[in-house]
């Protein structure tokens, strides 16, 4: 670069505009004179260096010591801006369709991604509503034994405390400012004709200290108050006491116990994963009792400056010593995790995948807006050339273009905010049940600002292109010719290809998820779900097993109680039979046991574990599960004193007895031996993916408490008619029974797919939007290409090219663009689909059919989008072209 040009470039780059305007030319001239006056090349170089350094110095000084605009200069700039804005509005009106489409596109992109990330922020990222939430952690023992147990290993680092462990650790630990243990259990409260369950938490007072909770009313319970007092959450206080401040001091009945309300918690109290409505003090059993009973979760507030690793070591040390170093004790280490992360771990991957997809959509939206604006800009070359010819300065015209683009970007962002507000509600409404912290999710302004900035940046970037080409295009030249330049076409094509590629990626994702969904819906569960009604009850165990009762007598009484209950339900006309199970299908119930199959020698370190279901004798009849070998259970097996028998699944039998000789072999479990009488096919009773335990066995429940509350009804009656009758019969048997759920089995199964459905729906919506964007994009680019090539097309037509050939010319072009975009998209999708790996089921992640389908769809779409331009091309009128 020559010295003057270097000087000029640096001048433009560094020196503020006001100074440049006033003295830029003089500075350039002076610099040139100085360089010209230099005696030797060496001196010239020195002088140039001095001049350039001077520019840097001026760049700083001119900004530091004086406002950019002196008062006299401010006016024209502002006036100019106002003029530009007015002009931009007029331009937008003139190109109404383009402006509306660009705005809409940006609105969809900004809205969808803002909504998605607002949900992600609300669920995954926002800290807990407590003071200094970054100090709060969940404290977990790590349970070495769980590590080798297939059904428990997922949680081996997230163990929970047993009462003696908690007591020992609370007394010994020094790493935490405060810490407390808690557990949440349902408790029965009277409700009209029957009873309802509310979750009741029990917490040691350290929990309140750790969370730094101050009560809204009254006080918090103390540790030594045991069962007699309770504090209400704000929501429960509102719903059950109408927000009456006289509630403090009143009594509340929980499981037949009378407790005194001593306080109300503040409205913002929300401990994720502990949705208790009422909290009571935690009463821990004395001494070393319940050493092996792990059920207490712990939250602590780390002292400032204490490293989590130090706290973990301390916890491990205390736990190892808790029982005097008894080698049989299973708790070995410690582990800390942040509360938010802990409660939302399972949701992280599913939500982030959708967040990523929405981001792809936003980029596609920006690309599409860019295309639309570029197209409009290209058509305006003449208009701009006229303005230039009339004396408008380059910078002025460029600025006007920028103002226009930014205006559109701003409109798009504003509309995007409206879209986001609606979309957030929609996203929350169709979210599967059980997602924590959804109630407070609203449009996250940070996210919105980020998305809006991206939209505005798109505007600026797009505005720059016409502005740049403007400085190169000769005004006179573009006035003389009515044909636009071919140069702009390449950029636009590039963007269309990118857009198509992004749409392909989303389409592949949607395709994989849709096929997964279809496969899941096709799964045969191995039983007859139609006509089955699942009734989940909570029986009053505290009454059936009162403290201090003789266990055998209580068992017998409980069995009789359950018998009366099932008889009452069975007596309803239209109910043909009622079965009981310990594990309600498609729920979180999941019992497992270690087993000792006869003759099976476990490999070293192998934990022989299997899914265990206690079922009533008629379970297989009601579920309509046939035996593939031997027999299923019968009511005779389910009597007190009957022989201990069991039924196993095919996988169980094959694994433990590969020789096929399973009949009459025994399986030891819980210290008893059970004779195998039959084999059933592998069923999907826990979830349709079949992620449940590989091996399952069924043992008679002896009509007892093990299967107590889960009723399966075989019926022809519509659920709506049956439910009131059922309630009547159940509460007729005992008003203390809580009816938790009555759902037809097919509905339960469908609900177990709620998360898959949610994901599939969103991905489909995103990909549909991206497909529409690319449709618009291809249409726009092809239309403009036809306009640009009008002369050529006219000449061809005049020289006798048939209509078909002209059509093919345009369509071939579109096919090339479409193929390129689809190919690029497939390449991207091959990598991107890795993010979907864990959600795809029943189809391979690299399923060729899905990829080919997406590519074909995009190709077809680009052809369809260019049909109209192609017809226009074929109809070009030679005479008109020549006249123009």
């Amino acid at each position: 670069m020559s010295a003057p040009r270097l000087y000029d470039a640096l001048l433009r780059l560094l020196v503020p505009a006001w100074l440049r305007r006033r003295a830029g030319d003089e500075m350039r001239a002076t610099c040139a004179e100085r360089l010209a006056a230099a005696g030797s090349p060496r001196e010239r170089r020195r002088e140039l260096a001095r001049e350039l350094a001077g520019l840097v110095r001026v760049a700083v000084l001119a900004r530091v010591e004086r406002p950019t605009f002196t008062p006299q200069e401010r006016r024209p700039v502002l006036d100019g801006l106002r003029q530009d804005l007015a002009f931009a509005v007029r331009a937008a009106r003139r190109h109404r369709a383009v402006a509306a489409l660009a705005t809409l596109t940006l609105a969809v992109g900004v809205g969808a991604s803002t909504a998605m990330y607002s949900v992600i922020d609300g669920v995954l990222l926002r800290p807990l509503p407590f003071e200094r939430p970054e100090q709060l952690v969940f404290v977990h023992p790590t349970i070495e034994e769980w590590r080798h147990n297939p059904s428990l290993q997922a949680n081996w680092q997230l163990g929970v405390f047993s009462p003696p462990e908690l007591r020992a650790w609370l007394a010994a630990q020094r790493s935490f400012e405060a810490a407390g243990g808690y557990t949440v259990r349902p408790a029965r409260v009277p409700n009209g004709a029957g009873s309802e369950h509310i979750p009741v938490g029990q917490a040691s007072s350290g929990l309140w200290a750790a969370l730094r909770v101050r009560p809204l009313l009254g006080r918090l319970p103390a540790d030594d108050e045991r069962d007699s007092v309770a504090v209400l959450t704000y929501a429960f206080w509102q719903s059950h006491f109408g927000g009456d401040s006289a509630a403090v001091g009143r009594d509340l009945r929980l499981n037949d116990h009378r407790v005194r309300v001593v306080g109300v918690l503040p409205p913002r109290f929300a401990l994720v994963g502990a949705d208790a409505e009422v909290w009571r003090p935690l009463a821990l059993p004395e001494g070393m009792r319940e050493l092996g009973n792990h059920y207490l979760r712990v939250v602590g507030r780390l002292r400032d400056g204490v490293a989590p690793s130090h706290a973990e070591e301390e916890l491990a040390r205390v736990l190892r010593g808790v029982d005097g170093g008894d080698a049989g004790h299973i708790t070995h280490g410690g582990h800390l995790v942040s509360p938010v992360r802990q409660a939302t771990e399972a949701l992280r991957a599913p939500l982030l995948v959708l967040g990523g997809a929405s981001l792809v959509l936003l980029v596609a939206a920006c690309a599409n807006a860019a295309l639309l604006l570029l197209g409009a800009g290209a058509e305006r070359t003449r208009e701009l050339a006229v303005r230039r010819a009339l004396g408008a300065r380059k910078a002025r015209v460029a600025r006007q273009l920028l103002v226009e683009s930014v205006l559109l970007g701003a409109l798009g962002a504003a509309a995007g905010l409206a879209v986001a507000a609606v979309a957030v509600r929609l996203l929350v409404a169709i979210m599967p049940e059980g997602v924590p912290r959804l109630a407070d999710v609203g449009v996250d302004l940070h996210t919105f600002v980020a998305a809006a900035l991206l939209a505005a940046a798109t505007g600026v970037a797009v505005g720059c292109f016409p502005a740049l080409s403007l400085s190169r295009v000769d005004a006179a030249e573009s006035l003389r010719t009515s044909v636009g330049t071919a140069r702009g076409g390449r950029l636009q094509r590039g963007i269309v290809v990118a857009e198509l590629a992004l749409a392909t990626v989303l389409l592949v994702g949607a395709g994989l998820l849709t096929r997964t969904m279809r496969e899941l819906q096709r799964v045969r569960p191995g039983f007859a779900a139609d006509g089955l009604l699942a009734v989940k009850l909570a029986l009053p165990w505290d009454r059936l097993y009162p403290p201090g009762a003789d266990p055998h007598a209580a068992d017998a009484a409980a069995a009789a109680y359950v018998g009366r209950l099932t008889d009452a339900v069975r007596g309803i006309p239209g109910v043909s039979d009622v079965a009981l199970t310990s594990d309600m299908p498609y729920s979180s119930d999941r019992g497992t046991n270690s087993v000792e199959p006869e003759g099976y020698v476990p490999a070293k370190g192998e934990v022989v574990d299997a899914g265990r279901r206690f079922v009533s004798g008629n379970y297989f009849d009601v579920m309509r599960i046939p035996a593939v070998q031997g027999r299923t259970l019968g009511t005779a097996d389910d009597r007190e004193g009957a022989e201990r028998v069991m039924v196993v699944t095919d996988a169980f039998a094959r694994h433990f007895w590969p020789d096929g000789r399973w009949l009459d072999r025994t399986v030891g479990f819980w210290g008893e031996k059970y004779r195998v009488v039959g084999v059933i096919a592998d069923t999907r009773e826990h979830d349709l993916r079949g992620d449940e335990d590989r091996f399952k066995f069924y043992v008679p429940a002896h009509s007892s408490s093990d299967a107590g509350g889960n009723l399966l009804l075989r019926t022809r009656m519509p659920t709506g008619a049956l439910v009131p009758l059922l309630r009547e019969r159940i509460w007729g048997a005992d008003r203390a029974i809580v009816v938790e759920e009555m759902t037809p089995m097919p509905e339960r199964m469908a609900r177990s797919l709620a998360e898959d459905r949610y994901r599939t729906r969103l991905m489909t919506a995103f990909s549909a939007a991206a497909a529409v964007f690319s449709l618009l994009g291809v249409y726009g680019v092809m239309s403009r290409a036809v306009v640009r090539r009008r002369r050529e097309l006219g000449v061809r037509s005049a020289l006798g090219a048939p209509r078909r050939q002209l059509l093919a010319l345009v369509l071939g072009d579109a096919a090339r663009v479409g193929a390129l975009g689809a190919a690029l998209g497939i390449l991207l999708a091959l990598g991107a689909s890795r993010a979907l790996e864990r959600f795809v089921w029943g189809v391979p992640r690299l399923d060729p059919l899905t990829y080919a389908g997406a590519a074909a769809a995009l190709l077809a779409l680009s052809l369809a989008a260019s049909l109209v331009p192609a017809r226009r091309a074929a109809g070009v009128d030679v005479m008109r072209v020549i006249r123009d």
Partner: protein, 115 residues
């Protein structure tokens, strides 16, 4: 007008003072000003065009210098600057201030007496 008192501008940045001195010899454009400043200071000051014009723009804003008619026979495209009466007063005030300093330095034996 009190606000326009020359003292208000003191002490003057050295580059501004040089510019005023250079223009004291008559109207000039940028390159000529630089050459005069080099001469005035025996080459110890050699401002870049950027620094020079930043200083001149400010002096112009403050009314110490003004654009002048291009002298006949010179390059008509260049801008020439001249001292305003206020500029002349400020240059004089700054010179007096410096003179007082020099006399003080001499009294302290920090400067030999003039020959």
């Amino acid at each position: 007008m009190a606000g326009r008192a020359p003292q208000r501008f003191l002490p003057l940045p050295s580059l501004s003072y040089y510019v005023l001195l250079a223009l004291g010899e008559g109207a000039a454009h940028g390159w000529a000003v630089i050459k005069r400043i080099r001469e005035l200071t025996d080459g110890t000051a050699n401002p870049s065009s950027g620094s020079l014009y930043l200083a001149m723009v400010r002096l112009e804003d403050d009314g110490l210098i003004a654009e002048s008619r291009t002298p006949d026979g010179d390059d008509a495209r260049r801008r020439y600057y001249r001292l305003t009466p206020l500029g002349r007063d400020v240059a004089r005030a700054e010179s007096e201030r410096l003179d007082r300093l020099v006399r003080r330095a001499r009294a302290l034996d920090l400067l030999p007496a003039p020959k």
